[in-house]
């Protein structure tokens, strides 16, 4: 695989690294503390003092965006980790064991599909109040059936291959087959789906925080920034344009990298053009 043949993957990855670096930096350093409210400094324009200006409470927007990126990435990534951690073993088990295990996995993932992230978030927020953890769990639960289905679909195709039968002949049990043969061969599928779910997770985090059941002050996230400016953005559009655009760029970078990754991995696409070349 040549990097030069896949500008999408390279460009997307570079953009993601820059975003991640900005976010991580906010852990140690931001131009201003993000909670520093200073009414005197509110609605500052872009300038040397505040590179991206200030909001209606006088907080430095660059600092908030940096920290918001971190929150968005962390929440979305945790959701993906939950989804992969629970969903992939479910999908693999369904294929390796079959029978009632498969039935149970399919019904469970149907059940989870019936609860969009928003509904889960609403239920949890009702019980425990809003918060970042709330968003992580909601997005994680939403991701579980997605990964379970991707893992099962991929593993089903692998399971019909003769080398899986050969492994059974060699005395490998279901778990060993899932770990040695199924998982390595669907890993690429999982990674590609992971980037997709990561970008969906960022959008979901933004939406949950925007309606007030996700991240809460004094923390900040890109969605919460949009919620905060709800009352003033008609007069000060920049306050909504900045966090919104950041989300858009972040998601585009992830999607482009994901598409590039898929093109790099999916041999079906790589071979395109030679489809009718057989014979």
């Amino acid at each position: 695989m040549s990097w030069r043949h896949n500008p999408g993957l390279v460009g997307g990855l570079i953009a993601i690294i820059i975003f991640a670096a900005l976010g991580l930096t906010s852990l140690w350093w931001t131009p201003y503390p993000i909670q520093a409210i200073s009414v005197a400094d509110r609605f500052q324009p872009l300038g040397p003092e505040h590179w991206l200006g200030t909001d209606h409470l006088g907080r430095d927007l660059l600092s908030m965006v940096m920290h918001g990126i971190l929150t968005s990435l962390l929440v979305a990534a945790s959701g993906v980790v939950i989804g992969i951690g629970v969903g992939v073993p479910m999908g693999l088990a369904a294929v390796a064991w079959g029978g009632w295990v498969e039935w149970l996995v399919l019904r469970l993932s149907d059940l989870a599909f019936a609860f969009p992230a928003l509904i889960v978030a609403i239920l949890i927020a009702t019980l425990h109040g809003p918060g970042e953890l709330n968003a992580i769990i909601a997005i994680g639960i939403f991701n579980i059936p997605v990964f379970a289905r991707v893992a099962r679909g991929g593993a089903l195709a692998i399971a019909t291959q003769d080398y899986v039968a050969a492994a059974r002949l060699a005395g490998l049990g279901n778990a060993a087959i899932a770990a040695r043969h199924l998982l390595p061969n669907i890993a690429s599928l999982i990674i590609v789906q992971g980037t997709i779910q990561l970008s969906l997770g960022i959008l979901a985090e933004a939406a949950l925080s925007y309606v007030g059941i996700g991240t809460q002050a004094p923390e900040t996230s890109l969605g919460l920034m949009l919620r905060d400016v709800q009352g003033v953005f008609l007069i000060h559009p920049w306050l909504s344009v900045l966090p919104g655009l950041t989300i858009v760029f972040l998601v585009i970078a992830l999607n482009i990298a994901g598409d590039g990754l898929r093109d790099a991995i999916d041999p079906r696409l790589r071979r395109q053009g030679m489809n009718h070349g057989a014979g």
Partner: protein
Amino acid sequence: MALVEIENLSISFGGRPAVRGLSLNIERGDRFGIIGESGSGKSLTALAITGLLPETAKVSGQVRFDGAPLPSNEREMARLRGKHIGMVFQEPMTALNPLMTIGDQIGEAGTLADIATDIDGLLQEVGLLPPHGARFPHELSGGQRQRAMIAMALASQPELMIADEPTSALDAITQRKVLDLIGDICERRRMTLIFISHDIRAVAALCTKVAVMRAGEIVEQGSINAVLQSPKAEYTQLLLAASRMERRPRSAQAREALLTVDAVSRDYGHGGFWLWRQKPVRAVDRVSFSLGRGESVALVGPSGCGKSTLARMIVGLDSATEGQFRLDGTLYHGRDLPPLLRAGVSLVFQDPFSSFDPRMTVGTSLGEPLRLLGQMTREERERRLVEAIASVGLDPVMLSRYAHEFSGGQRQRLAIARAMVTKPRLLVLDEPVSALDVSVRGDVLNLLARLQEEHGLTYLIISHDLDMVAAMADRVLVMEAGRIIEQGRPNDLFARPQHELTRALMAARLPDVV
């Protein structure tokens, strides 16, 4: 004037040539065979004649149909195809639109050529019945689908029919019937035929002229008799040699039984909840036979007759619903085959391309069955692997490579090496050469014969290829609908087939080339 003239045709994909400087003349009334292995460029040549090459193909040279160069305008080219050329493809399931009835698809072909189509008449001409027209492709058998494809190709009353491996997805009996049908139709309609195949005997049975292709070039062409009786190109000679199977001399003596199959049945429940549970399907029905030590027994029968299910139970991939097996005195039902006995039974799969995990080195794959023998030192393990790979005539350095680096023939040798690594006594061979190019089949069969000699192996060969069976087996079991209906020594059985199916299988055999 020739109907199709190809002059200096070259096709390449991204700089890689697939067809090089090919020239051909196909006269009206010819039945022209193009022979070659996969990747030889034979299908691309056919697609070039019909203007159906993928957009990514770079083409040079000229193709003339009925004296005129092929139109460059897409619509004109499409109408030319529709009116004058009928095409039949290899895989009739995917070549038909799954959402449309057969009748509609045939009618559409006629409409496109501005011909009032007699759909029922066409269906009858290809051996189907009028009610078949109202069915969807998935409701027909493979042979019926291919007949429907032929009816569709005939709907426009074309002058030229191009059949691209039309029978290689079908079982032996259907294959012969479809070949005969194509021959009859060409005769009756005085249609020119281009027949593309890897099977030299199918071409010999059907065609009057032949071109032999290899690696994008024609190595030899001429009338079928001239080419087959005095082949000039070395490659043609190789193909001809490979199509003849030598019977291996084998001693027939009574042997002590290694494996006994005792009234084994296998039922499959067909999905659904308990309320909607359908009647189970019996794939294998009270089968009994035994294999003697060192014997070579073939199990033949049409696809779906249960021979693969039986093989899967014997090696322990599936369990019998009723009945039992006895291997070396130990009873088992299938999956309960104990590890140490498992080491004594191996399976070689049909498709060498799917029998190796692409993410594992060949060495790791080959070593997998060794776990059946319990703990083993590194050196012992290494020694076993080297021994196994050397026994199939490959170099031990290949152990550290990945399967995709090998050709089909080499992979099948590696698969045999994996089967041999536990030093088994019984090898179950599931169509061991049918996925391989004709030219390497002989080598693999020779290897199997040598291994049997050296290690005193017992073979159970699953196949539908009667010639291979006649060459390899001491005894043949014929299976139909889950039962063994006839058995005997190959010569006796094939000379005097008793059962209808055996007779049909014999009748479907294509005549020998020379």
